[in-house]
Every structure is written in structure tokens, then in C-alpha cells.
Symmetry: C2
């Protein structure tokens, strides 16, 4: 019985691009933080290995002095130069070395059997260490197998225990040893239900080509509705934004709100008639869809990634294949019940459901390890 009810000693190996929880963008760190808090609340002993600036109810081990994406600008942009004083090559920090050391700090702490399980969110960077320690490991993929260049490493460590964030995510690399799908889980109190809707449509998320903000503009135009866009514009997608989205901002009906703080974004979700999610890639388990549904907002999305798993067709949103279908779906969103959208998240995408999913995974890999002796 202890196998299914006992408290676990868990090493949680977070990404270090952002703090946990992230102050703004940082979806992977957010999964880690939500999960860690819920596991601690359930009585597990969790040690969180994360960047300085993180906070946690778990035991926190800060492995790097700053999150990599928030490293002080002066140090980050330091030019390479021979320092005549020290004789050393001065320059910017080496993020690769720091990230490898971050992982090593966690795995070294595991050597004396201090943890029952290690939960890594750093995919191939942790995989290369995986056969050198005896503590069982679980690897959440977060879409990393999307990047074909990483497949040689995944191929070598195929037998490790992988968690896909949706069933759809497995299509990136179907031949890995998947032990479960565990959806990202939201803290429902962070995204209150909104039952009073306005007429605008909302696009949220990174404004990159595969997310389809340009397609959202087309759909909104076709449906004759105002559109609001919220999300980060990464440097590599600035040109895409300038060419495909920005020209439409002159139009009074399309507004770019920037990358909103979570509370502001929550308000946008609550009052939106629908969230447009016209992706053209296999989105594994984006927060946007879950947050929208938690806020009582229907989703109109394409047949990609986790959307067919997330959306209850005709009940919490619509899956569409064309801009015409999307525009037609916009006309029908008034038929959908905000309560049904929220219930969808409560039942399948809450932190409680996520933590239960990972508890089962942890016990499974620990059990397997005891049986096989490794």
C-alpha cells in the first residue's frame, strides 16, 4: 500500500531560462512551479533545482545566480577581450556550461539515494547523464522532440521514461518509451470564470508564424469582429510581425496589446467572445488554450497538436480546417456555455489532475526500478 500512498522524495529539475514561477513569459517554468507547489501540498518532499530568483514551498536549490534570459545585460553583452590584468579571455557568460552544471548539481545530490525519483524538464541535456545514476528519472518533453537535430540523442536514450504533454506530442518521436500523457495543469484561481462576453476575438501566445497571428487577423476580418493580440514578439519573429501583422494594426478593429501580465491577460480571456488558435504546428500543450477555457471562453482552433484533445467539439469550442469554417464558427460561439469550458479544465487540466498524473508516473517508474534492479 505504501507503493500507492507513501510520500515521495522528489528532485524537480527545472529549466533555468526564467525563474520559477516566471514573472512574465516562461511556460516550462510555470508547469514546474505549479506541479511543485501541488506536490508539496500533498505532503511529498520536493527539492526544486532552479535559477536564483525562484521561490517555492519546496526545498529550493538555486544553481545559477540569474535566470539565463534575465542575466544582467552588461554581463550578457560583454565583448570578448583579452584582459591584460588577469591574462584571461573576458566575455559573456557561457550558458551551455552553466546549464550543464545546473543539471550536474541535481544529479550529484541524488548519488546517495536521497531521492526516490528525479523529474527532469531539460530533455536531451539531462538524458546524456541518465545512465550514470541509479535513481529513476522521468522526462517531461515540453515539445523538445519537435527539433529534429535533437533526435540522435533521443534515439540513444529511447528507453528512458518519457511523459508527453499531450497524446499529439508523441508524433514528433513516436518510438520513445512513453509512460504517460500528463496535461499541463492550471491553478484555477489564477484564471477566474467570465460569463459576460464582449464581441472581440482574442489571440494569445508568441507571435510566431506557426502560431498563426496573421491567420487570426484574416479570420477576424472575415467574421467582421474586432481582434486583440497579446503575447511576446521574439527577435527572430520581428520581421514576420512587421510584415504580416503590423500593417493591420492601422485598422481600428485589430489591436496589439503587448505581452500582458497574467492578471491583465486573465481579464482579456474573461470577456472575449472566443479565443482564436489557428496554429500550423503540433502545439504540445500550450497554456493559452487551458487558460482560455478556464476563463469560460470557447476556442476556435485548427486540427493540430493538443487542440482536438482539449476542445470538446460544439461544447467548449470548434475545430476548423479553413478560415471560412473559422468565421462560421465565430457566429456560433454564443451557443456555447462558459461553465462547460471551465468544467473541461477542472476535470482534465487542473494542477490537481496534473499532480495525480505525475504521482502515478513516479510510482510506476520507482516500481519498475525496484523490480528490474536498476
Amino acid at each position: 500500500m505504501a507503493e500507492t500512498t507513501g510520500k515521495l522524495r522528489i528532485a524537480m529539475l527545472a529549466p533555468i531560462s526564467w525563474p520559477a514561477p516566471p514573472t512574465s513569459y516562461g511556460p516550462w517554468e510555470k508547469v514546474v512551479w505549479n506541479l511543485t507547489e501541488e506536490l508539496v501540498a500533498r505532503g511529498h518532499h520536493v527539492t526544486l533545482f532552479a535559477a536564483a530568483g525562484s521561490r517555492s514551498s519546496a526545498e529550493l536549490v538555486e544553481t545559477v545566480p540569474h535566470p539565463l534570459q534575465m542575466w544582467p545585460e552588461a554581463e550578457r553583452r560583454a565583448p570578448e577581450r583579452l584582459d591584460p590584468e588577469s591574462g584571461l579571455l573576458a566575455g559573456p557568460p557561457d550558458f551551455r556550461a552553466l546549464e550543464q552544471q545546473h543539471i550536474a548539481i541535481c544529479l550529484e545530490a541524488a548519488r546517495d539515494g536521497r531521492f526516490d525519483v528525479i523529474h527532469s524538464h531539460l530533455h536531451v541535456h539531462t538524458l546524456v547523464f541518465s545512465r550514470l545514476i541509479s535513481t529513476p528519472m522521468v522526462h517531461s518533453l515540453h515539445g523538445a522532440a519537435w527539433v529534429e537535430a535533437l533526435h540522435p540523442v533521443f534515439d540513444r536514450y529511447r528507453e528512458q521514461a518519457y511523459v508527453s504533454l499531450s497524446d499529439a506530442e508523441r508524433q514528433f518521436k513516436p518510438d520513445l518509451n512513453y509512460v504517460a500523457t500528463v496535461y499541463n495543469g492550471i491553478r484555477l484561481e489564477e484564471f477566474p470564470l467570465g460569463t459576460e462576453k464582449e464581441d472581440y476575438l482574442l489571440f494569445a501566445g508568441r507571435l510566431s508564424p506557426e502560431k498563426g497571428p496573421d491567420r487570426a487577423v484574416q479570420i477576424a476580418h472575415r467574421a467582421g469582429r474586432p481582434l486583440r493580440l497579446a503575447g511576446i514578439i521574439e527577435p527572430q519573429h520581428r520581421q514576420f510581425f512587421d510584415e504580416k501583422v503590423k500593417p493591420h494594426l492601422d485598422d481600428q478593429s485589430v489591436a496589439y496589446l503587448g505581452c500582458l501580465p497574467q492578471k491583465e491577460l486573465a481579464k482579456q480571456y474573461q470577456r472575449a467572445a472566443a479565443v482564436l488558435f489557428p496554429i500550423s504546428w503540433c502545439e504540445p500543450c500550450s497554456w493559452v488554450g487551458i487558460e482560455a477555457q478556464a476563463s469560460g471562453t470557447p476556442i476556435i482552433g485548427t486540427r493540430y497538436g493538443y487542440l482536438p484533445e482539449l476542445i470538446r467539439e460544439g461544447e467548449t469550442g470548434f475545430i476548423v480546417d479553413t478560415a471560412e469554417e473559422a468565421a462560421a464558427a465565430v457566429d456560433r460561439v454564443g451557443e456555447l456555455d462558459p461553465q462547460a469550458c471551465r468544467a473541461n479544465v477542472e476535470a482534465r487540466f487542473s494542477v490537481r489532475v496534473m499532480a495525480s498524473g505525475y504521482e502515478r508516473v513516479f510510482r510506476k517508474v520507482i516500481g519498475n526500478t525496484r523490480v528490474t534492479g536498476r
Copy 2:
């Protein structure tokens, strides 16, 4: 007695930028190859972990399909793009992931006690794994601690067994656990002695600011001698070359020969009146100085790095502090005996001496490990 005479089982973990031996540039791979061949000749069982395209008398494990610097151009320059067929992000290879996997392949092979010692030439990239395996490790630095950004990792693994390639190299990071200095060792037959000298001066090595090809031009002008420059121009130093060196090539007395094959370079050494080595950084143990001396050629060099250890002042070359002193030294090189230069290398910088040095290091760390139990 077995402790000091027994045959060892050695894992040799090479860098993978170039094959071992390198076909052209590749100084670290050359050290590894020279050492491996000599250790095998002495009866040790060596397993060489290296890039495909390497050859060895040792057992060869090819861990990556191409040396990273010789990766097929089309794959290397592949643009990042969403492949509509596979749904994957196609793009160039991930060298970081491949290098980490290269190291992991070696260390995983060590798990069952198959090796007595692991000799790593990949510094911090191997250090992060070092506490997760029980096989003792030796780390040759190759100047890596020059890069200040790597110091946080060196700090964490200070207690590992380090080999400096010269006493001078230790100044980059004096607080590491140095177990020995072992100079790079040359295969003397590759650089035949030349006793008939011409009047030209030679600069060999990478044409980068800290190597001082521009200072070599000044010295040659001042001494009124022709100068030949041979070596690789790296992309990041192209502008330096164009501004500081190229303008002097109009002058008939200064010639750039390109990056020469070893046999061609050997001929240049043999007939040079002297090799100019006006570095402004702590060169740990460059091949150039050793090759020049093996060829019977005096060195005129600055008071940096391994030069004061290499040069027998007034016998095999001169240490100088200014261009004036250098020019004055040029006038005196005729007094030096080519045989003395070669004898200097035979006594201290041969593969035999290097292999004996590493044998002592290996036995020392193996002995320490047996005593301390780790």
C-alpha cells in the same frame, strides 16, 4: 610492482572538432593522437573515443558521424524551417547535444569498470559528469581555463586531477588540483632537422591578435629580413588580418603562405633563420614552438606562456620584451646550433617523454583512488 609497470586500460576521450589525427588544423586532436599511438606501442589497452574519420592503433569508438568542423556544409547551413511532411523543425545539427552525447558514450562504457582511467580533453564539458562515475579521471586543460566564463564550472570541480600543458598555463586558474605538467610531445620523425638555413623569418600559427602576426611584421621590418606567415585565418580574425597584416603583403619581403599541410610547413621550419613567436597571451603549449625547435630552428619569442619554459636562452632561442630586442636577437641567431634546438625537443617534448609523463599521472590517480576508495 604492477602499480608502476602493469599495462593500463585507458579510455581516451578526444575532442571531436577534427579527426584524430587531424588532416590539417586540430592541435588538441593531434596531442590525443600522438599520445594514443605511443601508449598503444607501450602495450597499454587504449580505447579512443573520437569523431568518425579518425584512425588509430587503439580500439576506436566513433561517436559522431563527422568531426564537427568538417560537417557536410549543406547540413551545417540548413535553414531552420517547419517541415510540413514530418511536422518537425528541420535545421542544422546541434553540436552542443552531439558533444555531450560523445562524452556520455565514453562514460557509459566505463560504468562496468572496463577502464582503469579516463583521460578527458574536453575540460568543463566532461567535468560536469565527473562525480557520477567511479573510474578515476584525468583532465588535460589545453588552455581552456583561459576563458573566464568557464571558471564557475572549474571552481565546482577544483578537486579533479588536472594536467597543465606547461607550468605557465596554471596562471589561468591557479587553485585547481594540478597533478602534473606534461608538455605536448612531438613525433620527431615528422619534423626532420634542418641545418642549412636561409635568411627568412617565419611566423606560424593562427593569425589572431594574441599570436602577434602584426608584431612579427614589425620585427622583420626592423631586422631587415623577409618574413613568411603560415597559418589559419579564423572568420572572427579576418578583419584583424585585413587591417593589420594584409597591407604589408604588397611589400615583396612579407609573404602569406596560407595554412600549409604539415609536410610543407616542416620544410619552412627547416630552412628558416628563426621562428618569430611574439605572443601577448599565455600560450599553454603550442605545437609551433616545439615543431620549430625539432626542425633545428631557434625561436625569438616574448615572455609569455610556455616560451620561457621551452626556450633555452641563448642556446635554442631568445626571450625578448620589445621589437628592438627582437630585431637585435635576429642578428644573433646564426650563433645558435640547430642540433641544440633538436636536442631540447628530444629531451623534453617528444611523444616518449609525454607518454611517460601521462603514465605517471595515470598511475598516481589510480593509486589515489584505490587508497581513498573513490
